[in-house]
Amino acid sequence: MDETDAAAAEPRRTRAAASDRLLATVIREESARIVAALTRWLGSLDLAEESAAEAIEEAVRQWRTRGVPPNPGAWLTQAARHNALDRLRREKRYREKLTLLADPAEIEPLTGTGEVDERLPLLFGCCHPAISPDAQLALTLRAICGLTTPQIARATLTPESTVAQRIVRAKRKIGAAGIPLRIPEGSERAARLDIVLTVVSVMYSEAHLVAGGDAGADRDLADDALWLARVVALELPREAEAQGLLALLLFHRAREGARAVDGELVLLADQDRSRWDRRMIAEAQVVLEKAAMLRRPGRWQLHAAIAACHSDTRDGGDTDWLQVLTLYDMLLAYDRSPIVRLNRTVALAEVDGPQAALNEVDALRPALTGYHLWHAVRARMLRLLGRRDEAMAADLRALELTANDAERRLLEARVQC
């Protein structure tokens, strides 16, 4: 069913005032396509992105009260194109460029034409290693997911001016340094895809940092991350790691209803399994199986396989820890980051006992001494060993270091008992 049919089928919805969630969904579908098409037309991502962002702001204002028009993609494209021409006329430095531009009518086929999806080349450009990780995330949220700068600021707990500056610098760099908007081929491809997948994964974890954190975020980055993981997995069906990340995020999202209950965090072992989204878990399993059939293992698939082990449990005591530990050992071949090694110690404690786990935790002290969860995991091992006073001290240190209110309440409860 194309957009016109959808509009005809639901005429009432399109005229009624639109909720912010609906607006986010509609805008997200269109944003990257419009930025990509305008960039091709204008030869400047900076100008294209700015014009699209302005159109999105106009759309949010109008659609909130008047409802979403029958063809939102065309509406946004028209508005963005208008903004771009306006800027070109207004600014002297662009005037010469104006005469060189193709007739805007020539860029008409923007949506639903079945041609190559231009969103992915744009995404690879936004996640180019020449751009800092913070800016990769901010630019992806704006150009690909269609968030406004204030929304990004609220969702990532970063000052608005910092976000704006990161985006401007990143866009200028793409133009000035000649960063191509293209999916790399050959030997570079795997490394570049991993950066894209890392940005999507960070987007998802940012949402968790904010969740229960009493922040005034009006947009759930976890939704955006899941959406983007799906786009990448669908567009690159032969890339096993892209499927792996989608599976991972689906497994995590499926547990969300049990993880945060009334704004309070619940640890995996204590989560009420009946609150897990079984349909989403089933989808994650299908995606992970599809990835495995491509026979190109990698860290995202292993992360997803670990998440799958937890999703198979009926309660916390039911976990196949040997399997989890084996997967973590395989994961170390791809990712030896201190965080992965710390998470592995939880499985290690179940298989080889808390002393073996504590030794490994202590070996990570130099890298993770400023990380609250290192102290929390250490407290857990000390408590299992009956070293209560030291466990209490470690929990208190974790409490001092955490910035998230929901995590703080969880740790406070532990210190009090």
Binding site: Y94, A176, A177, G178, P180, P184, E188
Partner: protein, 116 residues
Amino acid sequence: MSQYAILIYEDPAYYETLPPEGWGAVVEAHNEFTKGVVEHGGSITGGEALKPVTTALTIKVGKVTDGPFVESKEVLLGYYTVEARDLDHAIELAKLAPATGGGVELRPLHDPSSPL
């Protein structure tokens, strides 16, 4: 096509401790680079090797002082300018540049005719 500078930063100690026969290998590595750039579809438009950093002096607001502008373990020892299709192509070429005693910095060259 755009122009990029490949700035070679290395630890001077690497060359100070290099045995005489090592120099032949360094020259050979730079010849290989020159050929490699062409084989990878780029072209070299310029480049020079600098005399040792011990010969550097710095001038700020008319005041002359001894030493390089920035003191660091690895110093600018030479550069190439190359023509490449885009940044990814330039990165491909820069990876070929010999800099065993350090690494390279890649910088797009400013084109005065395009203000954008």
